[in-house]
């Protein structure tokens, strides 16, 4: 049965409903969608806020961290009065203020091989806004094994990367791009390297765009292409991202068949970045 919009919804989503390519049909898909955001920091803030504003019916937030003063230079879902609060609680309040019709499910926990399937299981689309390699590999492997689309975004200093990994054979995943995490000590964390405050706003907004496109079926998803952004030169380039037949997770003969907890390194101790 076709869902009827309420009076509030017709007004709230008017600019989508009249927009060719989204329309009433696309807006209904958004209202019925369940999208999970891993991380509510620099990337997770704009991701979750745009999803809520767009009317994604259920938004999930995963983060174990608390708001710190040094987060506020870029993590716009949190405010000064939120310092010390769990990020998922602070972000939930921001989303309700943007759109009280959205159901927000919070997971105040660190994702691990123990809980990843349970946490990711109920969601239609997963958006990766975490800040460390162990969780990025975990989320990639779990979404591939569960057959869920994953919207990837990652940043360092002035540079960002984004793409979409779809489940299924012969489409690339994160391990087709980078088969293994770098060894500990080779890659500095945000806390060590610094991060340009607006950068996660740009990359996170691109991720929200792709999540909304996946839900509504709008346009062509960023699949098989990796977007690379450099804020210092304002260069956006895309390179080809191919499925790797030797990929340890989605290749012809997978060698990674269960979830792995890589040692925490390089994102630590500031995993809430």
């Amino acid at each position: 049965m076709t869902r009827e919009f309420t009076v509030d919804e017709v007004q709230r989503y008017a600019r989508h409903i009249i927009l060719p390519g989204v329309g009433a049909e696309g807006q209904r898909k958004l209202l019925d969608a369940k999208v999970l955001c891993i991380g509510t920091g620099g990337l997770g803030s704009p991701i979750a806020m745009y999803l809520a504003a767009a009317g994604v019916g259920t938004v999930g937030l995963v983060d174990f961290d608390a708001v710190d003063l040094s987060n506020l230079q870029r993590q716009i879902a949190h405010g000064t009065s939120d310092i010390g609060r769990p990020k998922v609680e602070s972000a939930k309040e921001t989303l309700f203020e943007l759109n009280p019709n959205v159901e927000v499910v919070t997971y105040d926990m660190l994702l691990s091989s123990e809980n990843a399937f349970e946490v990711l299981g109920p969601w239609d689309v997963v958006v990766d806004g975490t800040d460390n390699f162990p969780v990025r590999y975990l989320v990639n492997d779990a979404t591939q094994m569960l057959g869920k689309p994953l919207v990837y975004g990652s940043i360092y200093q002035f540079e960002g990367q984004a793409t979409v990994f779809l489940p299924g054979p012969e489409t690339p995943c994160y391990r087709c791009l980078f088969p293994q995490p770098p060894p500990p000590g080779t890659v500095p964390s945000c806390a060590e390297g610094g991060v340009f405050g607006v950068l996660p706003g740009i990359v996170g907004t691109i991720q929200a765009t792709e999540a909304i496109k996946l839900v509504t079926g709008l346009g062509e998803p960023l699949v098989g292409r990796l977007l690379i952004f450099d804020a210092t030169t304002m260069d956006f380039m895309t390179v080809k991202l191919r499925w790797d037949a030797d990929c340890p997770v989605c290749g012809k003969e997978p060698t990674v068949t269960e979830l792995i907890d890589y040692d925490q390194f390089c994102g630590i101790p500031s995993r809430g970045e």
């Binding site: 991380g39 920091g41 620099g42 990337l43 997770g44 990766d128 806004g129 975490t130 800040d131 460390n132 390699f133 990025r136 975004g153 990652s154 940043i155 360092y156 200093q157 002035f158 540079e159 990367q161 791009l177 980078f178 088969p179 293994q180 995490p181 770098p182 080779t186 890659v187 500095p188 964390s189 945000c190 390297g193 991060v195 996660p200 990796l226 690379i228 450099d230 210092t232 030169t233 260069d235 380039m237 895309t238 390179v239 080809k240 991202l241 191919r242 390089c266 994102g267 970045e273």
Partner: protein
């Protein structure tokens, strides 16, 4: 033969902060050797101890990953753009 090289932030300190440099080389291996000559230390984290490519740093010639071309033996043409892309995890 001159090739444009796009450097990620993490390698720019070796090249006086430049985002793009030019270097010569008819293959990727030659280009990286010449880069190292001009900017000592710049390929330390791109090449493994035995001279291969790390799996957490990708190199593209124009928009193609060199793993699908000829790896370090990939031939370069005048005007090609070589981009070096490390795995990053920030969020």
């Amino acid at each position: 033969m001159s090739v444009n090289v796009k450097l990620p932030t993490i390698l720019r300190k070796h090249a006086g902060g430049e985002a793009r440099v030019e270097a010569d080389g008819s293959t990727l291996r030659e280009l990286l050797a010449n880069l190292e000559g001009s900017y000592p230390g710049i390929t330390k984290n791109v090449l493994t101890g035995d001279g291969g490519l790390h799996r957490f740093i990708n190199v593209y010639v124009n928009d193609e990953d060199v793993r699908y071309l000829g790896s370090l033996e990939t031939e370069l043409k005048e005007g090609d753009t070589v981009s070096i892309l490390p795995a990053v995890a920030g969020g």
